[in-house]
């Protein structure tokens, strides 16, 4: 298929359709309302459900209901809207239902601004909602990758029967880049009669619930969840390395849009002879702890710099990986301006 120029938000909408999703519930919020606008046309064409809910809260519970009834569903929102969905995300994880949430992050806290940010890393990876749940969190860096990861997100949601989140920043949502959709894509399938409320017919009834009044049962339930979360950690870690070799002295860790800035940085600095490389987490949860730990042990390594559009969130996971071996510092912006390579290079040079 030929590449098409698409806005990130629209590409995300189309990717969902290609992944077999036929139900989308949403509430408008900048900078990703274009997903809704796109799907308000596209979903009905594809025979699917488009519904603008009265709020993010309602949208998230429509997702819950529809997922429980055996539908591939997703929603998209941006930071404050995701906060309003956090109760539902906890519920959906507890009920072990597949669902995809996309957060096109804007700058916060509070109403903040509408410009790009990566300030919801903690919320996404450590859980904005209550209780012990985790979810796979995918962080695309380009529009093309958004397409791929959104499609993967549906499969992972099915695989684990767990919510999956895709986080991008406002730039990912608003930018246009060439995209290509996989041909003959086979969406994952689930046997909904096994668990979903499709009508009991003559089978045993199915029940979607999250209440476990009996503490043994709840303990058991949580241990089941834990087993799933561990499996995710074992099987789903994804990252990209760019320009890293045995002699690498400086390691950048950065995801999403920031990582693109870092790639340019690596190109420019390597051209100057600086031994620098980038590790780009693609799953920010599960985080590539092991790989970063390995790298931190390399004798040539001298320092790690985390670049993230936040006051410093991902750095905590990098610190856990690094275990104090290398100096780890953070460079970030939070006003909504994506840092440009030159300024980060300058910052980097001030460090060494």
């Amino acid at each position: 298929m030929a590449k098409k120029l698409m806005k990130g938000a629209e590409a995300i909408g189309e990717a969902a359709i290609r992944a077999g999703c036929r139900a989308y519930f949403c509430y408008p919020i900048t900078p990703q309302t274009e997903v809704a606008e796109y799907l308000s046309k596209r979903m009905p064409e594809a025979g699917g459900v488009f519904l603008q809910a009265e709020s993010e809260l309602a949208a998230s519970y429509m997702i819950f209901g529809a997922a429980g009834a055996g539908a591939k569903v997703f929603t998209t929102s941006s930071s404050p809207g995701i906060s309003l969905m956090s109760e539902a995300i906890s519920y959906i994880a507890a009920a072990e239902l597949p669902a995809v949430f996309v957060n096109i992050m804007r700058s916060g806290p509070g109403l903040g601004g509408i410009l790009p940010s990566q300030g919801d890393y903690f919320q996404a990876t450590k859980g904005g909602g209550h209780g012990d749940y985790r979810m796979i969190v995918l962080a695309p860096a380009t529009v093309q990758e958004s397409v791929e990861l959104v499609m993967d997100a549906f499969n992972l949601a099915d695989k684990y029967r767990n919510p999956v989140m895709v986080i991008g920043d406002g730039l990912i949502g608003q930018m246009m880049e060439p995209v290509e959709f996989p041909e003959n894509y086979e969406p994952s399938t689930l046997d909904y009669e096994q668990f979903a409320t499709t009508g009991k017919k003559s089978r045993e009834r199915n029940l979607i619930r999250t209440l476990y009044l009996d503490s043994d049962e709840l303990e058991w339930h949580n241990q089941q969840l834990l087993a799933k979360f561990r499996k995710m950690e074992e099987q789903e870690v994804r990252f990209e390395e760019y320009g890293i070799d045995d002699d690498t002295e400086y390691l950048l860790v950065s995801y999403g849009t920031s990582s693109r800035v870092c790639k340019t940085m690596v190109d420019d600095l390597q051209a100057e002879g600086v031994k620098i490389g980038l590790l780009r987490p693609i799953t920010v949860h599960p985080f590539p702890i092991d790989r970063i730990r390995e790298l931190s042990k390399r004798p040539a390594l001298k320092r790690i710099l985390c670049v993230e559009m936040s006051l410093g969130q991902m750095i905590e996971d990098v610190e856990r990986a690094n275990q104090g071996r290398q100096p780890v510092t953070h460079y970030g912006k939070t006003g909504g301006v994506v840092p440009d390579a030159t300024e980060v290079i300058e910052h980097f040079k001030s460090l060494i």
């Binding site: 120029l5 930018m175 246009m176 840092p339």
Partner: protein
């Protein structure tokens, strides 16, 4: 080679649109492209701008503080962005609305009366396409057929508008070549 163009002007001048057309032409040319808009509640009314990056290798950071080229459709845009253009780049000034110069002597600066040309062709609204034609002709950033195709494709749904816009595109090119 990577080439960056910033299009800037009022909201309502069709800035985003000509950026998209250039990006599409670049894509057709087999290049990697990115179109990065400004967005926000200022969209209506205030300054609007977008950056188009065209490159023969994968684009790294799409965030461009110092673009190669600038197409300035109104005065505040020229004042704001002209100083940022890379040495040796091109600055197109919509002289219909901008009575001043960029003040740069290290760039290729052209002045095109986009609104006048567009009005002469039948619609003040097409000033953006005039600018696009002028810019592409001047810089040769992509093949002329490709940008023609992109403009035609854009108005495919309203075929009546195609001839007028094609006219604007080439009038723009003429004006640029004449300088």
């Amino acid at each position: 080679m990577q080439n960056e163009v910033m299009f800037a002007g009022f909201g309502g001048q069709g800035i985003m649109l000509i950026g998209k057309m250039l990006a599409k032409a670049g894509l057709k040319a087999g290049l990697d492209v990115a179109w990065i808009p400004s967005y926000g509640p200022e969209m209506r009314g205030g300054t609007a701008y977008c950056t188009v990056v065209v490159s023969d290798r994968p684009i790294g950071s799409p965030i461009i503080v110092h673009p190669t080229n600038l197409v300035a459709m109104n005065r505040p845009s020229l004042e704001k962005f002209a100083p940022k253009v890379k040495k040796g780049g091109c600055i197109l000034v919509n002289s219909s609305l901008i009575p001043i110069e960029s003040g740069r002597d290290d760039v290729d600066e052209i002045h095109v009366p986009c609104n006048e040309i567009a009005i002469a062709s039948g619609s003040a609204k097409a000033a953006n396409v005039v600018a696009l034609g002028a810019f592409v002709a001047r810089t040769g950033i992509c093949d002329w057929e490709l940008i023609e195709d992109a403009v035609k494709a854009n108005f495919a749904a309203k075929p009546k508008l195609v001839p007028m816009n094609m006219d604007c595109l080439s009038k723009g090119a003429e004006s640029a070549r004449a300088q």
